[in-house]
């Protein structure tokens, strides 16, 4: 017995010894820094003169400052749009990439690329894409000129498919609405019909249209107009951010998909569940823990968005892109002026409390 006890005690010591370096690191760089920040948030401090206690003055000043309120609105809008969008995109990507296809690994690597590329590099590339005569406006211009052909083709595709399925059924053959073989022939028919319509002059090849010249970054405009709107540069960052973070969460969903028992799908198939019913009633509920994790990480990440705003920098007006995390930095090192550490710390504390509240709310809603 006694040997057992000393043995166990020694094991405990070994465990704590292993933990010690990380605990020290955590204590110095997180716990100590956090406590200091909270203290600074109640003081007037510029890095040079010793901090002067001012009580709640910084917090009161924050909520009176238009730039802070703008940052707060921008951060909330960013989190509310980006988190659901990237979660849904990640889920769909994972479903697609979970198929047993030849060369699926190559596709998985390709879709994962945006997440392993440095966000600095991606932001610089997007600054180019978003230019007035950049690739995104060019694609939109193409869409405006040739979009009617795509729309006509889609409409014809649906029509041909309907006609073919009805014909098959009249012959007494079982044909689903999304029968792939019929779909393929409908697609060829639709493409041919569009080509014929263009050749006959019924449809113009390209509609005359001015090139799209949306200003994505250097503008203070908002979209859509009305009470619920976001600055266009912020929307540009949202699109970029969804694109770069969705693949990371896709990886979590892919891992989760491996754990869904095969038998559930087999039983559902026996009961006659269609593929989309299997996704809605088996896959999605089974992935609930993963969704919880993805939403939590997504909310924390989006509320604390900093790097892409910082890199876009002078390319867009400050009030159109500023987020809370960037507001903290902007106050710690205001351009051309002396640091305002008190204000920066107060904003950082507000950001931390806000993040905690939002994640707590999300836990309550999902009840996990």
């Amino acid at each position: 017995m006694r040997i057992r006890r000393t043995q166990r005690a020694a094991e405990g010591v070994a465990g704590y010894l292993f933990l010690l370096p990380f605990l020290l690191w955590l204590l110095i760089f997180f716990a100590y820094a956090f406590v200091r920040s909270v203290y600074f948030s109640f003081t007037d401090y510029n890095l040079f003169q010793p901090p002067v206690w001012t009580g709640l003055a910084n917090y009161l000043a924050l909520f009176r400052e238009p730039l802070f309120l703008t940052a707060l609105r921008n951060s909330l809008a960013f989190a509310l749009v980006v988190t659901p969008a990237q979660t849904l995109l990640a889920f769909l990507l994972a479903l697609v990439l979970n198929q047993k296809l030849r060369g699926i690994l190559a596709f998985r690597s390709a879709y994962y690329m945006p997440s392993v590329t440095s966000s600095i590099v991606i932001t610089l590339i997007f600054i180019w894409l978003y230019q007035r005569q950049g690739a995104i406006n060019y694609l939109l211009t193409l869409g405006r000129a040739y979009g009617h052909l795509v729309l006509a083709g889609l409409a014809l595709l649906v029509l041909f498919q309907l006609a073919q399925v009805l014909l098959e059924r009249r012959r007494g053959l079982p044909a689903g609405w999304t029968d792939p073989v019929l779909g393929l022939s409908s697609l060829f028919l639709a493409v041919g019909a569009v080509a014929a319509l263009v050749a006959a002059g019924v449809l113009p090849l390209a509609r005359p249209a001015d090139p799209v010249s949306i200003i994505w970054l250097n503008t203070t405009d908002r979209f859509p107009q009305g009470p619920i709107s976001a600055p266009i540069p912020l929307i540009a960052i949202m699109l970029m951010n969804i694109w770069t973070t969705a693949p990371t969460f896709m990886l979590l969903y892919l891992a989760g998909l491996q754990d869904v028992p095969r038998e559930l799908y087999e039983a559902a198939a026996v009961d006659g569940a269609k593929p989309w019913q299997q996704v809605v009633h088996i896959t999605w509920p089974q992935l609930r823990p993963v969704t919880f994790l993805v939403l939590t990480l997504g909310l924390i990440g989006t509320l604390q968005m900093f790097d892409q705003v910082a890199i876009i920098g002078d390319q867009a007006p400050l009030q159109s892109t500023i987020t809370l995390a960037y507001y903290v930095y902007h106050n710690a090192f205001p351009p051309g002026a002396i640091p305002r550490l008190g204000m920066a710390s107060a904003a950082a504390v507000v950001l931390a409390v806000l993040t905690l509240c939002v994640v707590w709310l999300q836990r309550r809603v999902l009840r996990y």
């Binding site: 094991e11 005569q133 203070t220 351009p335």
Partner: protein, 430 residues
């Protein structure tokens, strides 16, 4: 859960844990390389094109001068966010002995008490006297009567024009006699909507607009340090500057897919741009075949004066430097007449020593020498203010820039934004 049952394994695990902890503690305790007895002076500034220049400057003019006194110069450029780096290192006590201070953020650094006043050193020095330096530049680095930095060089704004576009439209080039009205007429004639040619590229920034506001007689701060934008001079300049764009004579660089006036000028779609000598290197690289000329900014028709903004950078000394005499010896060498002559002749920047104004370099006929001459002259012609807004820094300009952007992009009129703008600046500087 697995349990360590065999003694040897447990022993190994314990030893490993102890070893890791010891190693992590050791790393922190290892002493740095032993301090040599030489007098080390650390010099720092921002990176970019400055690195090659300062390296050569130190090798050619500083090291030979100070080596015999046992002073070793260590150059430590910082690639990005230099002012952030400097604020941090000054407050943490790890700052270099000599460093750049940009006039734009100089006030906060000087007021912090972390920068050494240089008056007593200048009084003792045999080679560097306060009277050697262009007075307006030295004044810009003076706070409460004390000199906190020796300007290393400076820049002002000038009017760059594209000779081809003026020739094609049969319009005479802008010249030093132009005022706002005559220049507007010239620009109107050069503008050609069908070819997409604009008269002038104007950015919605006080950093350019300010020169015109000053020309009209606008004073950024009154004797009490308040800002009053209700001065008629400010509204006059605001309406003229934004009106050029609203009339279609001027264009925002952003509308040409460019981020600054120089970029717009290089597209050859605009006939004029308001920039400083930093344009020269840019045009040499980006538009080597663009035939350009440079002239002084136009005069305000009412005051008959020009305005301008001085952009300048100083060498300043760390108040916590261990060997201030050595640091000042290095500062003397960095700003010596020979060093400044070399910088000027290389066309790198304009010198801050007053005597170099009559340098033969300025008499050369090359466009670059001419441009430098105009930029040098701009510092002492009319109402000239340094690019500095005291303790307010960028916060002082932000409301003005926003108002300029709103009017120049057509979202509001000058009369709509000016009352609110006046109130915001009054609130900021109250």
């Amino acid at each position: 859960m697995f349990r360590i049952t065999h003694l040897p394994v447990r022993g190994v695990a314990l030893m490993l844990a102890v070893a890791i902890v010891c190693a992590s503690l050791l790393v922190a305790a290892v002493p740095g390389p032993a301090q040599a007895k030489e007098r080390v002076v650390r010099v720092s500034g921002w990176g970019g094109t400055d690195i090659a220049i300062v390296e050569e400057l130190i090798d050619r003019f500083v090291k030979p001068q100070v080596a015999k006194e046992g002073i070793v110069v260590k150059y430590e450029p910082v690639a990005d966010e230099f002012s952030t780096y400097l604020m941090n290192s000054l407050s943490a006590g790890t700052a270099p002995d000599l460093f750049y201070v940009d006039i734009y953020w100089s006030h906060g650094v000087f007021a912090s008490g972390a920068v050494e006043p240089l008056d007593s050193y200048l009084a003792k020095s045999r080679v560097l006297k306060a009277r050697d330096i262009v007075p307006d530049l030295l004044k810009a680095f003076t706070l409460n009567g004390k000199i906190y930095g020796i300007p290393k060089d400076f820049n002002t704004l000038a009017l760059f024009y594209n000779k081809d576009l003026f020739d094609a439209a049969h319009v005479p080039y802008p010249n030093a006699n132009d005022n706002w009205n005559t220049l507007t007429e010239k620009l109107r004639k050069v503008t050609n909507k069908s070819k997409g040619i604009y008269g002038i590229a104007l950015t919605p920034e006080f950093a350019r607009f300010g020169a015109f506001a000053y020309a009209a007689g606008f004073k950024p701060f009154d004797a009490q340090g308040h800002t009053d934008l209700s001065q008629p001079a400010f509204a006059d300049a605001f309406k003229w500057y934004t009106g050029l764009v609203r009339e279609g004579i001027g264009v925002l660089p952003a509308d040409l897919g460019q981020s600054w006036g120089g970029g717009a000028f290089a597209t050859e779609k605009v006939a004029c741009a308001v920039e400083g000598a930093w344009m020269l290197g840019f045009l040499r690289d980006q538009a080597p075949n663009l035939p350009y000329g440079v002239t002084l900014l136009p005069k305000n028709p009412k005051t008959g004066k020009r305005g301008n903004i001085i952009y300048t950078v100083s060498w300043s000394m760390n108040a916590a430097s261990k060997d201030k005499d050595a640091a000042f010896r290095v500062l003397e060498a960095l700003t010596s007449p020979e060093a400044q002559q070399w910088i000027l002749e290389r066309g790198l920047a304009l010198p801050s020593r007053a005597k170099l104004a009559n340098n033969p370099y300025f008499q050369k006929g090359t466009p670059e020498a001419q441009a430098n001459k105009i930029v040098f002259a701009g510092a002492s012609d009319g109402y000239v203010y340094p690019f500095s807004f005291g303790k307010y820094g960028g916060d002082w300009m932000t409301p003005i820039n926003e108002a300029l952007a709103a009017v120049m992009s057509g979202k509001a009129t000058a009369d709509q934004v000016l009352p609110d703008l006046t109130a915001r600046l009054r609130q900021l500087t109250k």
